[in-house]
């Protein structure tokens, strides 16, 4: 555990990509199996452990520590796992030998829910403070170390002198602790052969179009497609096995039986999951809100199947039959896709059409006023681009519609955590509406990012100087027509909601600008938000 804990400590504080890779490679080279495989899983997010609740680790510490002293400590450190790892005092007779990460993970996997408490206590007693921190972050699922799965794979490639594409191709067919993978990378074994058919293959992702980026690119080299507002999926039918995966590789087959039934072709396709009618039927396509009725369900009722039928709008082909065509250029893969969809069920599959354009200005106009509300922008794909795993900059771009904007009034603030533990950085904001007692603010959302550090300092100062009431950790701030703070909130979408008092729910709201130039009375009204929903429906 010592080596893993030190690796985490270093990764968190190391900004340079190459230095991170070197730390990872050195760790993978010097750490034995299965610990290194579990470390890889922890970093790449493929490790599944019975989650330990933060309340449990707090309780364990309070078995040994005065609650007031704990509170002083937690307030000072600002992170529960770190507080417990630092303040924990093992009994004088505790064994001090280091426990390998692999042993800890395997012990956790064997342990039932009822024995977790004593296992966590015992493990904390045996580790040093860095080890305790790493352990607590692992079991509470809060391992944030600034290393993407992609970076970890790059380190694996460097370790074995392989191409990262090879690692990506194998990735979803392997599982922790990745023994055959490390055997191959250390030069002691053959490249692992994937036995499971219809495994998930990493999807290709686009990078956002940056300001002025298109000026240097030739429109003739690119195809454009609408960016549909559904969820990105991968459908595989291979070796007689059918699977539907989300873009992160979660198996969501159970929630969409009609798609699985209709997938009577062999191959792997990439597309957008939507509900309603396909372009080949004469029913309208549903909105993202409609699609949400079908998400996060293990099974699906007959009524939902009839009311919100799902279909796939095809983007790309990875495997045609059993043949991997990812190295082929985009247009060739699209030909294969088009042929496949032509002969597939018209209610369940259609082809995402290409948008013809001759200049970036023309495409910009099309992007800003798309023909259907369920479009959230355009995608640009180089005609010659192979299908590459992960987010590679250059071949594919996404060019979104401008997000929605409103002016809202700050109502409540709460302290942030981690880097922002000493600042009021979580904000609830509201807009005006007519209530029983006349015009009043109604909260419409919460945001805790979007602002710069300098803007955060201004917001924090405002909160401290204008608190009118406290509810535990929450402060209510002054918010009257002529006194208060207006912020511009940007968000990606808006839906009706029965869970919120305001009746609206925003997607990804963020504070995009501070508007000290405006008075709260100038902020938007709830009707504006309701009109945004109506415009999308």
């Amino acid at each position: 555990m010592k080596a893993f804990a030190e690796l985490l400590n270093r990764l968190v504080l190391t900004p340079q990509r190459n230095a991170k890779i070197r730390l990872l490679v050195d760790y993978f080279r010097t750490t034995p199996d299965p610990s290194r495989g579990y470390a890889l899983a922890a970093i790449a997010g493929t490790l599944s452990l019975t989650a330990v609740k933060p309340a449990l680790i707090r309780d364990l510490l309070l078995e040994r520590m005065d609650e007031v002293l704990f509170q002083y400590s937690y307030d000072y450190v600002g992170d529960l796992a770190e507080t417990v790892s630092l303040a924990w005092e093992p009994p004088a007779d505790a064994a001090r030998a280091d426990i390998p990460l692999g042993e800890i993970i395997e012990r956790l996997q064997r342990t039932g829910r009822t024995e977790v408490r004593s296992l966590v206590r015992d493990t904390l007693d045996r580790l040093d403070s860095s080890g305790r921190f790493a352990f607590l972050k692992l079991v509470t699922g809060g391992l944030r170390i600034g290393v993407s799965a992609r970076l970890a794979k790059q380190a694996l490639a460097d370790m074995g002198g392989k191409d990262v594409g090879e690692i990506e191709r194998l990735w979803h067919g392997l599982a922790p602790p990745y023994l055959p993978l490390f055997l191959w990378l250390s030069g002691d074994g053959e490249m692992p052969v994937l036995k499971t058919p219809a495994v998930f293959h990493s999807v290709m992702l686009a990078t956002p179009v940056a300001e002025r980026e298109l000026e240097g690119l030739d429109p003739a080299d690119f195809a454009a497609e609408w960016k549909w507002d559904g969820i990105r999926v991968q459908l595989a039918n291979s070796g007689g096995v059918r699977r539907l995966y989300s873009r992160s590789g979660d198996d969501i087959s159970g929630a969409f039986p009609e798609i699985l039934d209709a997938a009577d072709f062999t191959g792997v396709i990439d597309g957008e999951l939507l509900v309603g009618g396909t372009a080949r039927s004469n029913r309208a396509t549903g909105s993202f809100a409609d699609l949400q009725q079908r998400l996060n369900r293990k099974t699906v009722s007959r009524r939902l199947l009839a009311e919100f039928p799902a279909f796939i709008r095809g983007y790309d082909t990875l495997f045609s039959g059993e043949q991997d065509i990812r190295p082929e250029p985009f247009l060739v893969r699209r030909e294969a896709l088009s042929a496949l969809i032509d002969s597939a069920s018209p209610q369940h599959f259609d082809l995402s059409p290409l948008v013809s354009f001759s200049s970036w200005e023309e495409l910009d106009r099309l992007r800003s006023s798309p023909p259907e509300p369920v479009i959230e922008g355009v995608m640009l794909k180089r005609l010659d681009s192979p299908y590459l795993a992960g987010r590679v900059k250059g071949p594919w771009f996404k060019w979104k519609r401008e997000p929605f904007n409103i002016d809202a009034v700050l109502m409540y603030a709460q302290r942030g955590h981690g880097k922002r533990s000493s600042y009021y950085s979580d904000f609830t904001f509201g807009v005006w509406t007519e209530g029983e007692d006349g015009t009043a603010l109604v909260p419409v959302g919460k945001a805790y990012f979007g602002f710069t550090d300098a803007e955060l300092a201004i917001l924090d100062r405002f909160v401290r100087d204008n608190t009118v009431e406290r509810f535990g950790p929450v402060r209510a701030v002054r918010a009257e027509p002529d006194a208060g703070f207006v912020v511009e909130v940007a968000f990606e979408g808006i839906n009706r909601s029965t869970r919120h008092r305001s009746g609206v729910a925003m997607r990804f709201p963020r504070i995009s600008r501070l508007r000290p130039d405006k008075l709260p009375r100038d902020a938007d009204r709830l009707e504006t938000l309701q009109a945004m929903i109506a415009a999308r429906a």
């Binding site: 030190e6 400590n9 270093r10 968190v12 504080l13 190391t14 900004p15 230095a19 070197r22 730390l23 050195d26 520590m65 005065d66 007031v68 002293l69 704990f70 002083y72 400590s73 000072y76 450190v77 600002g78 992170d79 770190e82 507080t83 630092l86 303040a87 005092e89 040093d128 403070s129 981690g418 880097k419 533990s421």
Partner: protein, 336 residues
């Protein structure tokens, strides 16, 4: 005599009315007792200063010959009487020359420990517990989360990084008095004998430590002007932490920022300062040592000066030891 009549906090610092002197006053006074040379405790401009020889030397190095009207050397363990108040200096283990002061009158003894630590330090004498009625302690790291690791292991982490990133210059932030010399001495004890480069702000104090017989090995100046100035790839450079965010640091090969301080235990502190390699090396007591020291001395009462006094006072209450915070201002409890 009641202890709070013998010594009490006044606007200029802790004041002994009977002897008419202050301890570590934050403003110029007629007569001052100084526990150690850190600039928040040892200020220039007092009429008369009583301190250990090393502390007086350090003040002279920092402020020049006219740092006070008159100075007087206090020898460790020797009693001095001022207007019926018996004074004695004892080693505090904080930095070279650091001392605790015991003050006794009419059968009441108060020990002002200044800043202190209990770990062995190759650059200064170890703390000596002195029995007393009132023990005045700092609480810089007075929270149960502070457990300083073994300083040798921390130095080994620096050497390991040097092996892992030999193309990068390793910049170690360390306060100019005490910490810098301790880090260098620790590196030497771990068998690191290559020249160690220092920022100009450390030069006088490093020379002084070496004159006092503390072996720091070969010290070179990091700041060399001219055409062929070295980029110091793979070398260790010690300097004040403030210099590292400066243009000064950019002259070196891919600088890797380390920082030797007790605060580096808290991850966000390291992150906020842009430190890549935090080294938890402190010249103060951690929580276990603060509480152990109070147990060792078993005073009738504990007064807490600066730092996280509320937690230490709480601990004393739980242990049944009368304790109170003094709320002294002017001491930099973050600077380490």
């Amino acid at each position: 005599m009641k202890p709070e009549t013998l010594l009490y906090p006044a606007p200029k610092g802790l004041y002994c009315e009977k002897g008419n002197f202050y301890i570590d006053p934050v403003q110029p006074v007629e007569r001052a007792l100084i526990t150690h040379g850190h600039s928040d405790h040892a200020r220039a401009g007092h009429g008369h200063v009583l301190a250990t020889r090393e502390t007086l030397d350090i003040m002279r190095l920092r402020y020049g010959d006219g740092f006070c009207g008159a100075s007087e050397i206090a020898r460790l363990g020797e009693t001095i009487v001022i207007d019926g108040v018996r004074l004695c200096f004892h080693p505090a283990g904080h930095v070279l020359g650091s001392a605790q002061v015991s003050i006794e009158a009419n059968g009441t003894r108060i020990v002002v420990s200044g800043d202190y630590k209990r770990r062995p330090d190759p650059t200064c004498l170890s703390f000596e517990p002195v029995p007393c009625d009132v023990f005045i302690t700092e609480a810089t790291f007075g929270l149960p989360v502070f457990h300083h690791p073994d300083d040798r292991a921390e130095v080994l982490r620096l050497l390991q990084s040097l092996g892992q990133f030999p193309e990068r210059a390793h910049l170690v932030g360390a306060y100019a008095l005490g910490k810098a010399q301790r880090v260098i001495a620790l590196l030497r004890r771990q068998g690191y004998h290559a020249p160690i480069h220092i920022h100009g702000a450390l030069a006088k104090l490093c020379e002084y430590y070496q004159r006092e017989g503390i072996d720091l090995g070969e010290i070179r100046h990091a700041t060399v002007e001219g055409e062929n100035r070295p980029d110091l790839a793979g070398a260790i450079i010690v300097g004040p932490p403030s210099a590292f965010s400066d243009r000064w640091a950019r002259r070196f090969a891919e600088p890797l920022a380390a920082f030797a301080s007790g605060w580096m235990l808290i991850r966000q502190r390291a992150k906020q300062r842009g430190v890549e390699l935090p080294l938890v090396i402190s010249d103060h007591c951690d929580w276990a040592e603060l509480t152990q020291t109070i147990r060792d001395i078993a005073p009738g009462e504990v007064w807490v000066t600066h730092g996280r006094e509320e937690a230490l006072v709480r601990w004393c209450q739980l242990e049944g030891i009368p304790a109170r915070p003094l709320h002294l201002v002017g001491y930099d409890d973050e600077g380490e």
